[in-house]
Symmetry: C2
Subunit: 698 residues, 2 copies
C-alpha cells in the first residue's frame, strides 16, 4: 500500500507516469515509467523481477541526448495474434502473438519526439526506439545508446568477449561477477580480433538464475545500425548497450523517420521456450521478395575440408603470401584443391549420394597473396586459376544434376567486393550457380570499419538484397551476427558468424559444450552454416604429428544436422571418409533440411539439447540429441509421431565405450519399429550424441 | 678546392657520397648526396641555388623509417629523348627529353632497399621513391613522407590553404613568410572544407623569386597515393610534404613493388616555360587503352547555369532538403530545370549552333534531399524525376545529332556510387550518352575519408578506368587534383578540382587574377572544366537584389576558351543570353577544343597570359589573352602563322571604356587581314581579355 500512495503522489505532481502491459500468457509484465522525465522500464516473470528499473535513451552527437526531460504525449496499446509462413524454416507456419505498448514522448524545450514501442510475447519482451519525421530531428548521429538491462542477481552466463570484429570464440560459462575478457585465451585461431574492453560481452547473452530462470538478451532487425554489445557492471549485474563504432567513433548515422533495432529479453523457467522461440523472426519485416520460388534448401559437399586438414591448398601456388615467391610467378604447387578434376570428383560424389550442391573454395585468383595483409585489390571473383575451368565444371555439374556453390572470399576488402559485386554476381548467374558462399577473413576496408559496425551491417544486408536481384542465395561467413533479416530476404539462407567446425582442425577447437550453447545464442538470429559431419575426427589421420581433433563423437556429428538448424547444410568431410563409414553416412544422406514442425524435447544451455523435426511436406521425422563433455542417458517418448502409424526408427548412437577424447568413432546403428506410444532410451557418450530417422512403414 | 678535399675526405670514410645530373640544356643541376646515411638532394638553375640541401625519406607505421642508415648499392644514369602523341591535347606531339639518375639504396641492419629516381628535364626536376620487391618490405603503411623543399629565400607565392577536402579557394598572393591559413576568408562558398593547419598549403605551388626566377612545386602520377600538400616553415622558407590522411591517420597503404608519385620542381627565368611544360604528362604512364577512337573532344551547353543564377532548381520539389516538406511527397515546384521540355530547348540550341553536347543536371531522384547531410543512400543515378523522360530526350537529341552528357552527383557518398556504378554506366551506355559529369559535393562516405586521401584518389582513378570499360568519358567535379592520369586514361577528359566560374554566381567569387594563375597551377595536372562563356555578367539581371557578378569582361570570357585548355568546354550561359550577343557568341561557336600546336606568347602568373593555338588538323588559329584587375596593352607578332598565307583575323576585344566592375559587357569586334609578318595591338580592360580567330583567306 505504501508504494501505491507514493505513485499516486508522484502522478499528482506529474513527476512519475507509469504504464504496464503483459504477455498474452500474463506471465510476463513490462512496466514503463517516466520518472522526472527519464524513461525507464522493468520486467517481471511470474511475479519475479527479471529486469529492475533500467534506463532507456539515446545519446546524440552534436545535439542534446534523448534520455530525459520527456513528457508522455500519448500511449497506445494493441494486441496481435496472427501467423505467417516462412519460405524455409524450422516450421511451416509461425505464430506471431504479442501485446504492444507504444509510448510517444516529447522532450520539453527541444520539442523533439521519440517513441518507445514495447512488444510482450509469451517468450519475452522486445522494445525499440522510433524517431518520427519531425522538424527538430532530421539527420542525426547516435553517439551512444543508453539502454540498460539491470538484472537482479549474479546469474550464470555463457558469454563471448566483446569484440568488434569477431564472434568466433568459445563460450565462457561464468557468473556475471566473473566476466573479464582478459581471462580469455586469445591464442584461439581467430584471424582478426578487436577486443573492445575488459568488461564487454556480446549478444545473444544466455543466462540462468539461481532459481532456474532462463534469460536471454539479444536484438532483432539490425538492418541499418551497428551490432549491440553489452557493457557489464560486474558488481551490480547491470548491462548497458555498447554499440560497435565506426572509424570516427560515431555509432550510427540515421535520418528520421527511422527505428532502432529491437532489444529483446527472453525469459522462461523452461529453457526449451527460449531455444524454440521465433520472437526474433517475428520482429523482422515480412519477406520483401515477390517470387521466392528460386530459394531452395540445400545439402552440399565441397572442396573445403581437405584444405583445413592440409591435404590440399586453397591457392594454386601453395602459399597464401606471394612474397614467398620472389619471382612473382604463379607456379603450381601440385597441391591445389580447386582443380577441375578434383571438383568433378566431388560432383560425382554429390550425384551418387543425392546431394544438391558442391562448393569449391580457392578457384579464383588472389589466394596466392591475401591472408592477413589488409590488401585492398585482392580478389576479382571472376578470374579462375589456370587449373580450374569454370565452364567445364559447370557443364559437368549440370550433366549430373548437381548445383555449384560459388565462393567469394573478400578478405574483408569490402569496397573491392562492392566494386566487383555486379560482375561477380553476373558471372555466378552466367554459369548457373544458385548460391554464393562469401567470406570476410581480414581487417575491413574501408579502413577503420569493424565487421560489426553500421557500415558492415549495411554491407551484409546489401549483399543479400543485391543477390536477390540476381536470384542468388547468400551464405556469409565472418559476417555480423544475423538478427532475423532472412525473414525479409530469405535468400540470405545462412551465415556463419560464430565459431564453426573448422576451428577444430587447426586451433584449440570448440569444447563439446559449444553445440549445446549455440542454439540458445547464435541460432536465435538465423541459420548457421556450421559444417558438421566430420567422421575422420582426429587430425593425426592426415599427419601423425597433429594433435588437433574435433571435440565430438561421430554420432554427435550426425545429431548436429538436426540440432543446428539450417536450410543449408554441408557434409563437410572428404568423400573418402564418408565411404569408409557408409552406414553412418546414410543418416546425412537421409536427413532433411527444411521442416514442417520442430519440437524441442529437452534443453539445458551448456549441457544438452534434444530436438525432433518433421520433414517439410513428408511424414518422415528426424531427431537429434547432443550432450556436452558429460555422458547422458535419457528416455524419449515418441508422442510427437502421428498416432496409429508404425515407423521404422534408425538410431545412430554412440557405442557403449565411445568417448569424444578416447574413442570418438565408436558408434552403433540399430533399427526398431515404433509408434507414437513408444519410448526410446538414449545413451550419449561424453561429448556424444544420437541421431534418429523415423520413416513410416507402409 | 676546399670543398673538393672535404668531399674526398668524406668519401674515403664512406660518410658522404654524391651524384649529380643535369638537364639536357645543362641549365638545371640536380645533386644527390648521402650524408651519414641520410639521402638529400639540391637543385640549381643557371648556377643559382633553387632548392638547398633537402631531406628525402619515408616514415613507416609499424616499422623503422626509410630515411637514414642507407648506403648506395648502385647508381645508374640514362638519357631519354623521345616523343608521343596524346589522344587529345594542346599539341599533337609531345617531346619527352630528360636525363635520369637512379640511386639504389640499402638500409644497413634492416637490409631494406629503396631507390630514388631523378629525372631532370629542361623545365625542372622530378623524383620519386621506388620500393622494389624484397623480402624485408612487402605490405607497408606510410605514416609520413619526409620530402623537403628547402628554398633559398622569401619568394612570392600564389597559395591555396592546405585543405583535405577542397581546392576551391581563390589564390592568395604573398611572401612565404606571410603564409597563414588563418588569414583566409572562409566565407567563400565552399560547401565542404577541412583546413589542415595554419601553415599548410596545396600544390601546385607557384612562386617567383626576387631575382625573377619562377619555381613551381607539384606532383605527377598520383595513382595509388594521397595528394601531397606542403607544411610551410615560414621562417626558413622550407616546405615539407604533408600527405592527406585516411580515417586512421595513416597516409598510404602499399605493397612492394611500387612507387611514390613524382615530386616535381619546375624552374625557369621565363614563366612561359612553366605554363607550357608537359613534364607532368611525361611523368605519367602511356595510354593503356588500345582503342581510343571513341574519345572525342566536346563543346557543350547545358541545363546548369540557370540553376546557379536562381532561374530554375536542380530538384523537382524546389528544395534540396525534403524536411521542408513534412509530408515527404515530391511536389513539383514548377521551377525544375531538368524537364524534358527545357532540355529539348537546349538540344535545339546546341543543334542550331553546332555544339556537340548537352549536359543536364538535376534529372534524377535524390536532389530533393541531399545537400550537406552526409547521407549515404542519396542518389541512384538511374531513376529520373517524373518530368524528365530519358528516352524521349535521348531520341530527340539523336534526331538533332546532339550528344547528351550524363550527370552523376554523388554528394561525396562514394560507397553508394561504387555500388551503383555498373548500373549507372550501363544506363548511360543504354541511352547512348558518351560522357559523364560526376560531382562530389559533400563529406565523403566511407566516413573519415577526405576528398584528397589515398582512398579517394583511388576512387577517381577507378571511376575513369571503369568508365573506359564502358567507353565513357569522365569529367569529375570536386575530385582530387589531376596529376596527368589522363595521359594513361584519356577518357578522363577533364576535371574541375579548382575554384570554377560557378562561385561568381553566389559567393564572393573569383578575383580577376584567378584565371591568370590557374594555368600555372591547376592546369599543369590536366584539363579543367572551368565553364566559361558567361555573357550576362551581373546577377542583378536575374534578381535586382543580387550583388554578385562574374569578375570579368565579356571579351575575357571568350579569351578563356583559349587560355584555359580543355578538350571539354562548356558554353555555360543561357541560350537566351547568347542570342542577345550573337556576334560575340560566334567566337565560342568557332573556337576549337583540340589542338596541333600551342604557343604561350606572354605569361606572368597573377598578371597576364597570352596563348595562341592551332586547331587540330586544320589551318585555323585561336588566340586568347587575359589580364588581372589591371588594364594591359601589348603587341603580338603573328609570326606563328604559316608564312606567305593571308588570314582573316576576327578580334573580340574590350571596348575602350570596358571595365570588369563598371562596364563589363562593353566589347567590340573588328576584322583585319593579316599574315605572319603582321602585328596586332591588344588592349585589355581591367579584368579583361581578347580573343582572336584566324581563318585562312582562300
Amino acid at each position: 500500500m505504501k508504494n501505491t500512495y507514493l505513485i499516486l503522489f508522484l502522478l499528482t505532481f506529474g513527476l512519475f507516469q507509469a504504464q504496464s502491459i503483459q504477455s498474452p500468457s500474463k506471465e510476463i509484465t513490462l512496466d514503463f515509467s517516466l520518472a522526472n522525465g527519464k524513461p525507464t522500464y522493468a520486467v517481471t516473470y511470474k511475479g519475479n523481477p527479471i529486469v529492475k528499473s533500467s534506463t532507456l535513451g539515446i545519446k546524440l552527437k552534436d545535439n542534446a541526448a534523448l534520455d530525459s526531460n520527456f513528457t508522455i504525449e500519448n500511449t497506445s496499446t494493441a494486441s496481435v495474434n496472427d501467423s505467417w509462413k516462412p519460405v524455409l524454416g524450422e516450421q511451416s507456419e509461425i505464430a506471431n502473438v504479442y501485446n504492444q505498448l507504444t509510448v510517444s514522448l516529447t522532450q520539453s524545450k527541444t520539442n523533439r519526439k521519440m517513441n518507445i514501442v514495447f512488444k510482450v510475447f509469451d517468450e519475452g519482451v522486445a522494445f525499440r526506439y522510433e524517431f518520427p519525421k519531425q522538424p527538430g530531428l532530421n539527420y542525426f548521429i547516435i553517439s551512444d545508446e543508453l539502454t540498460q538491462f539491470n538484472l537482479t542477481g549474479n546469474h550464470k552466463t555463457f558469454w563471448l568477449p566483446g569484440d568488434f570484429d569477431s564472434q568466433e570464440y568459445s563460450y565462457t560459462e561464468s557468473k556475471i561477477s566473473e566476466i573479464d575478457t582478459d581471462k580469455i585465451d586469445l591464442n584461439n585461431g581467430i584471424a582478426v580480433k578487436h577486443i573492445a574492453g575488459k568488461y564487454i560481452v556480446q549478444t545473444p547473452l544466455m543466462m540462468k538464475t539461481s532459481n532456474n530462470l532462463y534469460i536471454n538478451i539479444f536484438e532483432a532487425a539490425v538492418v541499418n545500425y551497428p551490432v549491440m554489445q553489452l557493457d557489464v557492471d560486474i558488481k551490480n549485474f547491470a548491462f548497458t548497450s555498447h554499440l560497435v563504432p565506426g572509424p570516427l567513433g560515431d555509432k550510427a548515422y540515421l535520418q528520421a523517420p527511422c527505428d532502432s533495432p529491437w532489444r529483446t529479453i527472453m525469459v522462461s523457467d523452461d529453457a526449451r521456450d527460449i531455444v524454440a522461440s521465433k520472437m526474433i523472426l517475428n520482429l523482422n519485416e515480412p519477406c520483401k521478395l515477390d517470387d521466392t520460388s528460386w530459394i531452395k534448401p540445400m545439402k552440399y559437399v565441397g572442396v573445403w575440408w581437405e584444405m583445413h586438414v592440409g591435404k590440399s591448398t586453397w591457392d594454386y601456388a601453395g602459399s597464401q603470401n606471394a612474397q614467398n615467391n620472389q619471382t612473382g610467378e604463379l607456379i603450381a604447387s601440385g597441391k591445389h584443391g580447386a582443380t577441375t578434376e578434383n571438383t568433378k570428383r566431388y560432383i560425382d560424389f554429390a550425384a551418387k549420394h543425392g546431394f544438391d550442391g558442391v562448393l569449391v573454395e580457392g578457384w579464383n585468383n588472389g589466394w596466392e597473396d591475401w591472408f592477413n595483409n589488409w590488401k585492398e585489390d585482392v580478389f576479382d571473383f571472376v578470374t579462375p586459376y589456370p587449373d580450374f575451368d569454370v565452364k567445364a565444371v559447370t557443364d559437368y555439374a549440370k550433366s549430373k544434376n548437381v548445383k555449384m556453390i560459388m565462393h567469394h572470399e573478400t578478405s574483408g576488402s569490402v569496397g573491392n567486393y562492392e566494386r566487383w559485386m555486379d560482375r561477380a554476381f553476373a558471372h555466378t548467374v552466367k554459369y548457373g550457380y544458385p548460391a554464393i558462399k562469401s567470406g570476410y577473413v581480414g581487417r575491413i576496408i574501408p579502413r577503420g570499419e569493424f565487421h560489426d559496425g553500421q557500415a558492415m551491417v549495411r554491407h551484409f544486408n546489401y549483399a543479400a538484397r543485391r543477390a536477390a536481384d540476381f536470384k542468388l542465395m547468400i551464405n556469409s561467413h565472418e559476417s555480423s551476427h544475423p538478427t532475423g533479416y532472412h525473414r525479409t530476404y530469405p535468400n540470405y539462407i545462412a551465415a556463419e558468424a560464430a565459431r564453426g567446425t573448422e576451428f577444430n582442425a587447426w586451433s584449440i577447437g570448440n569444447p563439446p559444450m559449444h553445440e549445446t550453447i549455440l542454439p540458445f545464442t547464435r541460432l536465435l538470429g538465423g541459420p548457421m552454416d556450421y559444417t558438421p559431419g566430420i567422421f575422420e575426427i582426429k587430425m593425426s589421420a592426415y599427419d601423425p604429428n597433429k594433435k588437433e581433433q574435433i571435440h565430438t563423437t561421430l554420432a554427435k556429428q550426425l545429431a548436429l544436422y538436426v540440432t543446428m538448424y539450417s536450410p543449408l547444410q554441408m557434409a563437410a568431410d572428404l568423400p573418402e571418409n564418408y565411404e569408409k563409414y557408409s552406414d553412418a553416412f546414410q543418416f546425412i544422406k537421409d536427413v532433411a533440411v527444411d521442416w514442417d514442425e520442430s519440437r524441442y524435447l529437452e534443453a539445458e544451455p551448456g549441457d544438452y539439447l534434444t530436438v525432433v523435426r518433421k520433414t517439410k511436406g513428408k511424414n518422415t521425422w528426424f531427431l537429434g540429441a547432443v550432450t556436452d563433455e558429460n555422458a547422458r542417458k535419457t528416455s524419449i517418448a515418441l508422442d510427437f509421431l502421428p498416432k496409429g502409424q508404425k515407423f521404422r526408427a534408425v538410431i545412430y548412437e554412440d557405442a557403449p565405450d565411445a568417448d569424444w577424447q578416447k574413442n570418438p568413432k565408436a558408434y552403433k546403428i540399430r533399427k526398431v519399429e515404433v509408434t507414437s506410444k513408444s519410448k526410446i532410451n538414449l545413451s550419449l557418450a561424453p561429448g556424444g550424441g544420437t541421431a534418429i530417422s523415423f520413416v513410416p512403414i507402409q
